[in-house]
Symmetry: C2
Subunit: 142 residues, 2 copies
DNA sequence: TTACGACTTGGAGTATACTCCAAGTCAAGA
DNA sequence: TCTTGACTTGGAGTATACTCCAAGTCGTAA
């Protein structure tokens, strides 16, 4: 992780720090996922360290399968008052739950893939094995 | 998981068994991800148990983020001869690797979310806490 | 025989998330 | 002053993965 300066003075730098493209950052602002950024006198965007960190957090949520709309709801609530804390909490809990399921699913598929890899390894290491036989076993679930 | 009959005689049933919609199954066949299915005399699609299982395996790969194009490449290789085994193997190994990374990423985000949930819980359980203080800590990375 | 329901086809339309472009502005250096 | 480069905007275009629709076919039940 790069050091994030106190103030980020160009969209290019913001893109580098967040891993998004400049276009994507502008797009996120356009659809209201990111708040309208402050501009310099010449109209160029400026970001505080906190803003950059909040963008990075969004990219993490995105990486876990949250849609832009869901992130938007969450962000909109975050900028409101105390009353929304239970709502924010439930969004996070909900998402936590989804990720847990996702992780379980991934582990299951991982096991299936490992089983297949094993079969293919056996075939390559022992070319005398009847391929028809092996692949048909594998082909059962492709 | 439902029992899969030896022969599945309607696309509706195939959809129920695989969790896809009828339209999606037709779409997959249209783009060549699924082989052209046998038809009854009236033109309706029929599937063997093995074909249903292979569709289910595809849905699992998809759930792990494999694109339709990647699945298509894999499937096309699977229907070819022994020479493609090393290739199939490398596709699987590659994907296995990707899923491993994905799982690590998910765990990391899970930790961040747990941290936030914790903070929000503290706020709700102790309403006397200065909210401004707490949310600002959280808001640092939104 | 006619109506009905379950399917068929090709093709158009949609949602999501970008990605690209043209035309314009502004500040700094030659 | 002119050019260059980094940005700005609104809007159009693209990729992926469906999703929907109109028109037609087939087999059974009344």
């Amino acid at each position: 992780m790069q050091e994030i300066p106190e103030i980020v003075t160009s969209i290019k730098q913001a893109a580098e720090l967040t891993g998004l493209t400049e276009d994507t950052i502008r797009y996120y602002e356009k659809i209201g996922l990111l708040p309208y950024a402050d501009r310099k006198r010449n109209g160029h965007r400026v970001y505080s360290r906190e803003q950059i960190q909040s963008i990075i957090f969004l990219t993490r949520l995105k990486a876990t399968g949250m849609t832009l709309e869901e992130m938007k709801s969450y962000r909109e609530l975050s900028s409101l008052d105390k009353d929304t804390v239970p709502l924010r909490l439930s969004i996070l809990e909900n998402h936590h739950h989804k990720i847990q399921n996702e992780i379980s699913r991934l582990f299951e598929v991982q096991k299936i893939i490992e089983y297949k890899i094993d079969h293919y390894r056996k075939i390559t290491q022992n070319p005398d094995l009847n391929d028809t036989n092996c692949t048909s076993t594998i082909k059962k679930d492709l």
